[in-house]
């Protein structure tokens, strides 16, 4: 799929299994980056459907309104690479079901929008020891240089500015959400292929 990587690098990416927890602005865009990079196997989890307010930043299209995000995302990712191996989960992720849901995954990208749900997932999955790539602080626009990826403890990686919460004056908008989604994908590639995060 990715002609710019070595055979060894392609082999690593083809065999890895990535969890995408939440298929909104972060998850849909992060997954698209990873598919374009050559990753084929995913567990994608989201209970929600595509609505009009999602189209300002999420990897969906106007003719997909009302569809389950998991199914719409599968359709869009398969248009990039028809050879994907996707497991969809279209129910709510909880602290109880998360470890089993992502048991087969080598790494999980935390891609929720709700702050409490993010904290729940981090607490539920960190004890597994597998890398958890998270996002916190990505609302608004500008301030590109405040966005960073930090390693926290053994197996948590956090992309964002850790400050800017979504609010009426600081909405989620495509570029900044997209940058952080790309940072999550980029961190996953660095963890898999080696080099600095």
């Amino acid at each position: 799929m990715n002609p710019y990587l070595t055979e060894a690098q392609r082999g690593i990416l083809e065999n890895v299994h990535i969890g995408i927890a939440g298929a909104g602005g972060l998850g849909s865009n992060c997954a698209a980056h990873l598919v374009r990079s050559g990753i084929r196997r995913f567990v994608i989890a989201d209970f929600d459907t595509v609505c009009e307010s999602n189209l300002n930043r999420q990897f969906y299209f106007a003719d997909q309104l009302g569809r389950l995000k998991t199914e719409a995302l599968r359709e869009n990712l398969l248009r990039i690479n028809p050879e994907l191996d996707l497991v969809l989960f279209s129910d709510r992720i909880t602290a109880e079901n998360a470890p089993e849901l992502f048991a087969e995954c080598d790494m999980v990208a935390e891609c929720f929008d709700n702050g409490e749900a993010k904290a729940m997932l981090i607490e539920a999955l960190l004890p597994s020891g597998k890398p958890l790539i998270c996002a916190s602080g990505l609302a608004g626009f500008g301030h590109s240089n405040s966005l960073k990826v930090r390693r926290i403890g053994r197996n948590c990686f956090m992309a964002g500015d850790l400050e800017t919460s979504v609010s009426p004056t600081s909405p989620p908008i495509s570029p900044r959400v997209g940058i952080v989604a790309a940072m999550e994908a980029n961190t996953i590639l660095a963890l898999l292929l080696g080099g600095e995060i």
């Binding site: 998270c134 948590c156 919460s165």
Partner: protein, 67 residues
């Protein structure tokens, strides 16, 4: 004693508790993920009796909404 807080070394009086340390830094556990010596401490766990020791590592990070 010296502990590490978000990767910065910090001197502390002996017998400082983790709960007091968080309170002194105005850190409320409901807003953060708390990691103590490479272990995530769930918010449900009572940490009132936990005394810090030399070399302990505390990492705290904010989780804010958006995605």
């Amino acid at each position: 004693m010296t502990i590490s807080f978000n990767s910065e070394k910090m001197p502390l009086p002996e017998k400082t508790s983790l709960a007091n340390f968080l309170a002194e830094h105005s850190i409320r556990r409901e807003n953060v993920i708390l990691e103590y010596n490479s272990e995530v401490i769930p918010r449900s766990r009572d940490i009132s009796g936990l005394l810090l020791s030399d070399g302990d590592e505390i990492n705290v990070f904010k989780v804010v909404a958006g995605g």
